[in-house]
């Protein structure tokens, strides 16, 4: 039987068996889309931040008692794409930092772009690590999730209201703005320390875990 789609046949049964053989590498479709949809769906694992430099805290930029931001650290605004409206948004962070002495606690979190600057409470879309090296060490905070229940329908009761981004229409005409699939968040980095910490790098990728 010819390995091609036949006009006049129907999608179920015969035609679908033919079409499966049309793919040069059926394993690619199976592995890429069925077994591991995340790695074909490029928004999973997509790199959202690769910040290198050197930043120290500024007492004038206190956020709340004991917590500081790193002075002139960029506002890392990320677009977190979700597979569906019931999906969480998440990133995997990595930082490089040092202290003059002692230790420092660095907290990384995702907050609504139009929300508060506060470093949130432990468990609220944040992850912490402790820096002790005086020369610089790489640290990998746990993945940070924004639960789907928090995002909700981005309605009035959602803390993420106003944190979506519109989709743009095709050149063929205007399309409906569907705002559920792209979440705009701010990747915040805060530090709590009595010594002088220096932040030298932050990387973040979208989470790929199923």
């Amino acid at each position: 039987m010819a390995a091609r789609s036949e006009h006049g046949y129907y999608v179920r049964g015969l035609a679908s068996r033919i079409a499966a053989d049309r793919f040069a590498d059926a394993a690619t479709l199976r592995d890429g889309l069925v077994n591991n949809p995340n790695h074909l769906a490029d928004q999973r694992g997509q790199v959202v931040a690769q910040v290198t430099g050197s930043w120290v805290t500024d007492d004038a930029d206190d956020i709340s008692a004991g917590w500081h931001q790193f002075y002139a650290f960029p506002k890392i605004r990320v677009l977190l794409t979700r597979l569906s409206s019931g999906d969480s948004a998440a990133i995997v962070p990595r930082i490089y930092a040092k202290v003059n002495s002692g230790s420092a606690t660095i907290r990384v979190g995702l907050i609504p772009v139009r929300g508060t600057r506060l470093p949130l409470a432990t468990g609220d879309s944040v992850s912490e690590v402790t820096v002790t090296s005086t020369t610089g060490e790489y640290l990998e905070p746990d993945p940070i999730f924004v639960p789907a229940t928090d995002i909700g329908d981005l309605g009035a009761s959602s803390p993420w209201r106003g944190s979506s981004y519109p989709e743009y229409p095709s050149t063929s005409g205007a399309g409906a703005a569907v705002r559920m699939r792209v979440l705009v968040a701010l990747l915040g980095v805060w530090v709590q320390s009595a010594t002088t910490p220096t932040l030298m790098g932050v990387s973040a990728r979208e989470y790929i875990g199923g």
Binding site: H7, L40, M180, V182
Partner: protein, 342 residues
């Protein structure tokens, strides 16, 4: 009627659902088509947020930044986010900066106050893409301090998602209704029925090329990174994380593309990229003016799908170094590291 880009729903897809030589349910094909529309129409990061940390003074005039990207043809708009700061601690940020996107669109960022104030210092600009392509391109944008001085503390760029795709050979949209149960099979009609799936899958694989690391500063002797050292010197103190996406079962590494924007003040220099897995490659820089150079076939680790973070080790890093041969200076103004297409 354009093809709808709906939310991705993989609930009924299973490994057993697609096997060569075995029947595939019509509903499976319909879900695959919807997934491909989603993948070809979703948002995509071209420039992961990076910190130029470059000072812009009024006297500098227009300053050009540039990176190498593999854009999506489907993208009609891009989002730019720029964060600005003052040139001295606790000083006010310059009040006006002009931003021009790669398509020529302009925006004026009006700043007030100092860092820590409630004044806006982060700006968004949506670029309307005037020349759509999927080929390797130089994405160039300019910034000019019009009033006061600024430090560009952060830049990121995303391709924005589409609500629908044109049903043609460029957008690769698939008419989902053509895959309904009992729908007739179309023979050789772009964007319809089973025949549309291979092209859309190939497009989605290629479109998913991951932009792993981007860094750019104005290509001038005063603002580019520079060294006169004849031994390799790190361009960045922080080794960025580098993980390529996993496409095929069993692979652990994959080759990436590296582009370096550099020049020398006579003679030659070298730029070397070293990956944590041990692979390294270098390129000789001999141009006397800013020029893009290419390093292909550099292997980095792929994601490990069995771990939640995707990491294979705790040190999947990229090290960028440069040196000048004999005397003179080597300047580096751009580094782009981008994954494979398929």
């Amino acid at each position: 009627m354009p093809a709808t880009v709906s939310a991705l729903d993989l609930g009924t897809l299973s490994a057993a659902g697609v096997r060569s030589g075995a029947p595939v349910r019509g509903v499976t094909w319909a879900r695959v088509a919807a997934a491909l529309n989603y993948l070809n129409g979703t948002a995509r990061c071209l420039i992961p947020c990076y910190a130029p940390s470059v000072e812009l003074l009024v006297a500098n005039g227009v300053q050009t930044f540039g990176v190498k990207v593999w854009p999506s043809y489907q993208a009609t708009h891009r989002l730019w986010v720029v964060t600005l700061g003052p040139t001295a601690q606790d000083e006010a940020i310059g009040t006006e900066l002009e931003f021009t996107d790669p398509s020529g669109g302009t925006a004026t960022f009006v700043c007030t106050g100092s860092i820590g104030s409630s004044a806006p210092q982060t700006f968004e600009h949506v670029e309307t893409v005037t020349s759509r392509t999927s080929a390797e391109s130089t994405l160039s944008w300019t910034m000019e301090s019009v009033t006061g001085s600024h430090v560009v503390t952060g830049v990121t760029c995303w391709e924005l998602p589409r609500p629908d795709l044109a049903i043609d050979a460029s957008d690769l949209g698939i008419e989902l209704g053509s895959l309904d149960g009992n729908a007739p099979v179309y023979d050789g009609v772009t964007g319809y029925s089973l025949g549309a799936l291979p092209e859309a899958l190939a497009g989605a694989l290629t479109r998913g090329r991951r932009h792993i690391f981007q860094w750019a500063v104005p290509a001038t002797t005063s603002k580019a990174w520079a060294t006169t050292s004849t031994s390799y010197v790190d361009v960045f103190d922080y080794y960025p994380e580098g993980l390529e996406r996993l496409l095929y079962s069993g692979e652990t590494t994959a080759d990436v593309e590296v582009r370096i924007y550099a020049w020398v003040s006579g003679g030659t220099g070298d730029v070397q990229i070293t990956m944590a897995n041990g692979d390294s490659a270098s390129v000789s820089i001999s141009a006397a003016s800013p020029t893009w150079s290419t390093i292909s076939g550099l292997a980095i680790r792929c994601e490990d799908m069995s771990t939640a973070t995707g990491r294979r080790t705790s040190a999947d890093t990229i090290r960028v170094q440069a040196r000048k041969n004999t005397s003179g200076t080597i300047y580096v103004a751009g580094v782009s590291i981008v994954g494979r297409g398929s």
